[in-house]
């Protein structure tokens, strides 16, 4: 029997530590494992006993790329428990800081992590020598996302200005207005980045996914909405645990998710776009149309285009929010704890990020559950790899490895966020 093993010990250009192992025996694909060996983080455990107001700042530390997703999941859940109603200006500022996160995260992935795959470069630094204008533009766009994060969050990584009930400090109209010229430039640059992405060569790889995301009646989703899928799910986020279950697999410190009774699902830009494209802003719709995107996008390699469309959306939305902004009377509303369980589910750049907390009357956290989008996508990534490798097994190892890594990066996996599970081995003698 001839066995061919392709092993990538550390996957590059993803956040965190993961590996890939492919086994082909006698020309038959025997095994594909996306191994996540990043050590578990224990956030859910050390939230227990902490005050409910501490959850946003603690969970924001889960990720340096998408901290807003964790801030928002935590504050929404706590506000649900306590019955807090958030005034419109604060709600709008939360959407605005999310715009900043989508811009900086998506453009980093598009230009620095994913584009080199399509253009045949080992990394963005090598790509920059031949495509300096694309990289310079992407860096400036990323900086604009950072600027929004700094103004609203206090700093670009792990913002510290978000609290249960609102913000510690809110910007003035003038501070936001000053961002506008740069954001106008960013909007144009983002549209150019979509054009750039649309001209890349894409594999023909349409898949039959169950897309899961939020859907809101009036807006492209960030913070609120029903949890929906293209195969019939439509539930409030409080029903998340009745729809998705997590299970341990031996090769990953991140729990795998599956839809009860059905299997893997796909969260992230393709899911949001497919389920919400009619809610995109005008220029985002124009960009999508000019890029040749249909109303449904089932090719994960084209996620680079959809991320670009979402960056266009984020700039348009940011400009709208700035134009309509009236500072709130107070930067936050007081929130008094009461015993209960609450839920937060928001759209991180990589897909829905779920939080569930139970607190007591004094506000002490009794239980916490957090599910990152990368954890949910793990099974889908492995499924994609099975489908992708089978017709491409004739490729030489180095080419097959390259394309498999690209297939993984379609999901912009954030492995550090996803690692929760500690493999515990007890040997009794």
């Amino acid at each position: 029997m001839s066995t061919r093993i392709i092993q990538v010990d550390t996957i590059a250009r993803v956040e965190g530590e993961g590996a890939l192992r492919i086994q082909i025996s006698d020309g038959k694909l025997e095994d594909v494992k996306l191994r996540i060996f990043e050590p578990p983080r224990f956030f859910e455990a050390f939230l227990r006993g902490r005050d409910f107001t501490e959850a946003p700042d603690i969970t924001a530390r889960i990720c340096g790329i998408c901290p807003v997703a964790y801030l928002m999941g935590a504050v929404h859940a706590m506000e649900m428990i306590c019955g807090a109603v958030i005034p419109r200006p604060i709600r709008d500022l939360r959407r605005l800081i999310y715009c900043g996160e989508w811009i900086e995260s998506h453009i980093l992935h598009m230009a620095m992590l994913h584009a080199p795959d399509f253009l045949g470069y080992p990394d963005a630094i090598a790509m920059a020598k031949d495509h300096p204008d694309v990289v310079k533009k992407a860096l400036r766009v990323k900086k604009l996302g950072n600027d929004i994060m700094v103004l609203l969050g206090g700093r670009e990584i792990h913002p510290i200005n978000v609290r249960v009930g609102g913000f510690y400090k809110v910007p003035t109209k003038e501070q936001l207005r000053r961002l506008k010229p740069d954001l106008q430039w960013g909007l144009e640059a983002a549209m150019e980045m979509v054009r750039f992405a649309s001209q890349l060569n894409f594999q023909d790889f349409e898949q039959d996914y169950e897309f899961v995301c939020l859907r809101h009646p009036d807006e492209y989703p960030f913070n609120e909405g029903m949890m929906v899928s293209n195969k019939g799910i439509e539930v409030p986020i409080s029903a998340y645990d009745t729809v998705l279950v997590e299970e341990h697999v031996p090769h990953s410190t991140a729990l795998h998710s599956r839809i009860r009774g059905r299997g893997a699902c796909h969260v992230g830009p393709l899911a949001r776009y497919t389920m919400n494209h009619e809610k995109l802003t005008p220029l985002a719709k124009t960009s999508a149309r000019e890029a040749g995107l249909a109303e449904i996008c089932c090719n994960p390699f084209k996620s680079i285009i959809v991320r670009g469309v979402e960056v266009v959306f984020a700039f348009e939305e940011a400009l709208r929010l700035i134009d309509e902004y009236e500072p709130p009377d107070r930067p936050f509303i007081p929130v008094t704890p009461r015993a209960g369980t609450g839920y937060g589910c928001t759209e991180a750049p990589r897909g829905i990020c779920y939080h569930r907390y139970t607190i007591d009357d004094a506000g002490a956290i009794q239980d916490a559950k957090i599910v990152s989008p990368t954890a949910v996508n793990q099974s889908t990534i492995e499924k994609d790899l099975w489908h992708f490798i089978e017709p491409n097994m004739d490729l030489p190892d180095d080419r097959l490895q390259w394309e498999c890594e690209q297939a993984i990066r379609n999901y912009d996996p954030c492995i550090s966020c996803s690692a929760h599970f500690l493999k515990l081995e007890v040997v009794r003698q």
Binding site: G64, L108, M112, L113, A124, I125, K136, R155
Partner: protein, 174 residues
């Protein structure tokens, strides 16, 4: 950013010391500790604290600037060892700086600036070898000593540029 020399002899570059790190990760606070001490001893010297996020870092210098960047490193050397790299003469190893959750961080920013011809005219990178990067705010004794030594060394380098007009600035605090 540039300023004019007091003699009016023309435009000169502005020296800048950038400290990178994380105060909540023990020895990873070394870069900020250097900045704090320089700020206390030379209040008019231009110093900056930066999170290490690459795109923002690249915005901190311009061609023509003279920059010193300080961060904690983990290269396997003895704790407290001070590494000195001239970024214009040598590449910065990507695994040199302490593990970061950010896919585009200090080493990548410097190498990207090199690829795009956006490096300052002088970029000296000092790395202080750390021993303990766990959660906490206390630096190891060897690292604390190295911070003091490095501050003296950086200030001595800038003494040679005593005629340079320098100013203080504030950038995002990580």
């Amino acid at each position: 950013m540039t300023v004019h020399s007091p003699t009016g002899s023309g435009v000169i570059s502005r020296p800048k010391v950038i400290g990178v790190g994380n105060r909540c990760r023990c020895d990873d606070g070394a870069g900020f500790a250097v900045i704090e001490r320089i700020r206390a001893r030379r209040p008019h010297l231009c110093v900056v604290e930066a999170s290490g996020e690459g795109a923002s870092l690249m915005e901190l210098w311009k061609p023509g600037d003279e920059v010193v960047l300080v961060d904690a490193v983990r290269s396997g050397s003895a704790p407290g060892r001070i590494h000195r790299l001239d970024a214009l003469r040598e590449r910065i190893p990507s695994g040199f700086f302490h593990y970061s959750t950010h896919a585009f961080s200090v080493a990548e920013a410097i190498e990207m600036a090199r690829a795009l011809d956006l490096l300052p005219s002088r970029l000296i990178v000092y790395g202080i070898e750390g021993a303990n990067f766990s959660a906490g705010t206390e630096m190891s004794p060897d690292v604390t000593n190295a911070v003091e030594t490095l501050v003296d060394r950086i200030l001595a380098e800038f003494e040679d540029q005593a005629n340079t007009v320098i100013e203080s600035t504030e950038v995002s605090h990580a």
